[in-house]
Amino acid sequence: MRFPPSITICLLLLACNGSIDSEPARPGPRIYAPGPAVLPRLTAAQYHASLEDLFGPGLPLLPLEPDTNPYLFFNVGAASTTLSEVGAQRYDESAHALAAAVIDDPERRAQFMDCEPASPGDRCVRATLGHLGMMLYRRPLSDEEAERWIGIATDLAEGNALTGLRYALAGMLQAPSFLYRIELGSPDPVPGHEGWGRYTDLEMASRLAFLLWNAGPDEELIEAAVAGALSTPDAIHLQASRMLEDPRARRAVQAFFAQYFDLGRLDHVGDRDPLRYPQFTSTLTASMRTEVELLVDDVIFNRDADVREILRTRRTFVNAELAALYEINAEGATAITFVPVELPDDGPRAGLLTLGAFLAMNAHPTETSPTLRGKYVRERLLCDLVPPPPADVATTIPEPGPTPRTLRERLELHRSRPDCAACHDVIDPPGYLFEGFDSIGATRSEDNGIAVDTSGGLDGMPLSDGRYLGELLSSDPRVSLCITRQLFRHASGRLETDAEDVAIRALAQDFIAGGSRFLDLLLSFATSDAFRMIQIDGSER
């Protein structure tokens, strides 16, 4: 792993004063300079989406090496882990299954071939391999590469041109130029940019596609790159705008928010005791995930609203079991049909932090966890880093003992120890605001037989329950800065350097000034130096 060590942000936060400058600036450079190149392998989702975009739906999608998400993002895992031997075998099996499905089916073949090959390695085979190679490698093949696959298509054909084509496709599907995003840049001639690389037009086509579609580029984008039409911010803006109009953009935005909100953890919410939580079903956490996806899509694409609206809006999307969990009427909702609803004004819910997904994935099977919920607010929404417990500190929450106590009371005993208070005074108060929701996200009025206390706060600002935290965060510039930072990490496949942090702050300022609309952020990021430039380190080559 090659992450910069100096990413710790001091956690002793003061009250928010309405500017991102309230977040302590990092020591180090105040001028932007690009960070190091990475070599991400396609994630399984990107591999599959790229092929479906190219060959159409209904392909045999065999399991690939599982992706990992250090620092929340699969792209970070894909740029820092090494493929295992079993992973290489899975690529091999997947490639042969896909190649057979694509080449052996005349209808599918007709979608990307306008000729029928007559003999192995003939003109039609060559043209087809040239086209497939360009789409898979996200650039035209070199002569050497083209000859290699034409050679395979000839040598392994057994007299059948399509058989040869099938092997060549299976080979290209295992080639590093398809499986890895090789984006190296070329020296930037601008004076003062020594050591800077600028991504080539073809590399930009690939970068835009993975950012905006979470898959490889289409033909139009590659052609634009070949024509030299991705060299300026205006030209990039033009293509990026087109791409955001395409339905594939919704898929990419969903992928980013699912990772940023850490929704994968919903898959690990273990079964709950059915006697204690009769509303918990085997489908409930999947419903919670769908709800968040619909909410994200609505705020960003349907309403093009301030993205922080997700944290305060009373509008959400429920199916029958979520309506029951939230104790609301939702006409038309069934087990599989989600309908838009306005949560009642006098109800306990408004915004993401009062919905099932956040509440259930930040709780334990037997009890809630103000600590996990508070930590999520700190780490996910505000990008704070909560330091580890000091060495040898007692991490056990006091047992209930003979006198009944709420979990909150037990946690407060824990916080009475100075070594624990240092962190828990920062983490727990926002978490307390959700004590009115149990471990699956249903409302409750008692914990352990005693009335719950939902008072808490953020950074010294007292609040009475979670709705007010959502309201507060929905105008907090730190949330917009955090989203900008996370988008950078997602797009770059690594943490930012201190010099890149300068660019992130500048992007965030513009983002906030424009009303924190996420599609705007995507466009301004895609055209910025932070996305177009890379460090060229001569010493390693």
Binding site: V38, N69, P70, V86, G87, L156, S177, E540
Partner: protein, 455 residues
């Protein structure tokens, strides 16, 4: 293609049958190496077995654990051969495990970055590599963690003395049973490493393990064409590498090494057909563990591989043992100090280990010797206990006879002893000429000689 010798064909028919798994009629077709001449001894195998969250805490763990007043259910009451098994070791007794107690990591703990003393980091890494974690890049808040060197299974798998008796189809095989994870990345996912950022992720489904081990593409012509294709893939990898920085070049090189390995395997493979085992019954850990152990046992007998790792539960496992009446995830159960629940879970994990050993013992090789007599299986966990994450009393089990080179059924105790001695002992039992083991303060030149009858 490999030609089946007459001797191979003869010996292949001697192979024992396996419960619950329909073997192909001609076992030797499946087993590239199936037979040894009279007097020849099959070479040893090595396995790593990992279970999560240590054992129930007791006075020897020190600190607050000492005042908890809970008895030591792990350490046998007597030392030496023929010790009386403790409550936790009772499920394993039939396999005469050698148990080593009182040991702990001796590695130094760098002050920066903080958090490296935690058992999930330090105990895990010392238990599997003999070294501390890699301090550079260690990030406690995200628990991002890398080793400094390969884990013991890969040290063995790549040792030229170990591999001198012949290449196996798989250099190593990695399985996991529980899919509950504390995090979805890094060492929370896997216990076997080739190096700092290169893991061997475990196969988690019996069906996938079966496919890996036993399903071989249809015919020799197809195999050789697929091998040619991999040759072309590796050629492309070679021409790209010069454009990359050193770290990325190493990642690509390793990927291309795997491609070469697949290619080699295709030239070894023979056309065999196996009937798939029954689909797994999910839920109980031991059911899945036993199914995978059965497949693994066949693979070891056939010498499809001679090295494996098994991660029963992952580090800091969040597995909910509802079958034992434990309502919360294991990691939280430990932190909540629920000793009785940890007692039940640990005992169950040992029973799962025993189930795996049962299946290895049931496999007799061509000379009628149980597989377990040939192997060395090192059983480790991440720390002594999970309540306070103490790395004192880091448990170690050595199971198997290593063809007579490893003493079975012995309890060795050394208060505060260096855990790296366990690794050195295992390596020597496998006949590997190591004089020393351990790094960064954990160095030792002393195996447990009393466990090595042949030195």
């Amino acid at each position: 293609m490999k030609i089946l010798s007459r001797r191979t064909l003869l010996r292949g028919t001697f192979a024992g049958s396996v419960v619950g798994l329909a073997l192909p009629q001609l076992d030797a077709m499946l087993c590239p190496r199936g037979a040894y001449a009279d007097g020849e001894v099959a070479p040893p195998f090595f396995g790593l077995f990992f279970w999560a969250n240590g054992v129930p805490w007791h006075a020897h763990h020190g600190g607050e654990q000492a005042s908890a007043g809970t008895p030591d259910l792990w350490t046998p009451g007597t030392t030496g051969a023929g010790y009386a098994p403790s409550e936790m070791l009772a499920p394993l007794a039939a396999h005469r495990p050698t148990v080593l107690t009182g040991l702990q990591p001796h590695t130094a703990i760098p002050a920066e970055p903080g958090g490296q003393s935690d058992g999930h980091m330090r105990g895990f890494m010392v238990g599997l590599t003999g070294d501390r974690i890699r301090p550079e890049g260690f990030d406690h808040p995200s628990h991002t963690l890398a080793p400094l060197r390969p884990t013991l299974d890969q040290v063995v798998a790549r040792d030229t003395t170990f591999t001198a008796s012949g290449a196996t189809r798989f250099r190593s095989v990695h399985i996991g049973v529980s899919d509950a994870r504390f995090h979805d990345y890094g060492h929370w996912n896997a216990i076997s490493y080739n190096g700092p950022s290169s893991q061997n992720l475990p196969i988690l489904r019996p069906g996938q393990l079966f496919d890996l081990l036993f399903s071989v593409p249809p015919n020799a012509g197809e195999l050789s064409r697929r091998a040619s294709l991999l040759d072309a893939v590796a050629d492309e990898g070679r021409s790209l590498r010069s454009t990359l920085g050193a770290a990325d070049r190493a990642r690509l090189d390793e990927h291309m090494d795997h491609v070469r390995e697949l290619e080699r395997r295709m030239t070894l493979a023979t056309g065999a057909s196996c009937v798939a085992p029954a689909p797994p019954i999910d839920g109980d850990l031991s059911t899945r563990s036993n199914q995978m152990a059965e497949l693994l046992a066949v693979a070891l007998r056939c010498e499809l591989t001679r090295v494996f790792s098994c991660m029963l539960t992952s580090p800091a496992s969040t597995h909910v043992f509802s079958n034992l009446g434990v309502p919360d995830g294991l990691h939280k159960t430990c932190h909540d100090g629920l000793w009785e629940n940890v007692r039940r879970v640990t005992s169950h994990q040992m029973a799962c280990f025993a189930g795996m050993l049962d299946r290895l013992d049931a496999q007799l090789d061509a000379t009628g010797t149980p597989l377990l007599d040939r192997g060395v299986i090192l059983g480790v966990t991440e720390y002594g206990e999970g309540w306070k994450h103490s790395t004192n009393e880091l448990p170690a089990l050595l199971v198997g006879g290593a063809n007579g080179r490893l003493a079975r059924g012995v309890h060795v105790r050394e208060d505060g002893g260096n855990f790296a001695r366990v690794h050195l002992t295992a390596l020597r039992a496998l006949g590997l000429p190591y004089d020393s083991w351990g790094w960064n303060g954990g160095e030792t030149t002393q195996p447990f000689d009393e466990l090595l009858p042949l030195g």
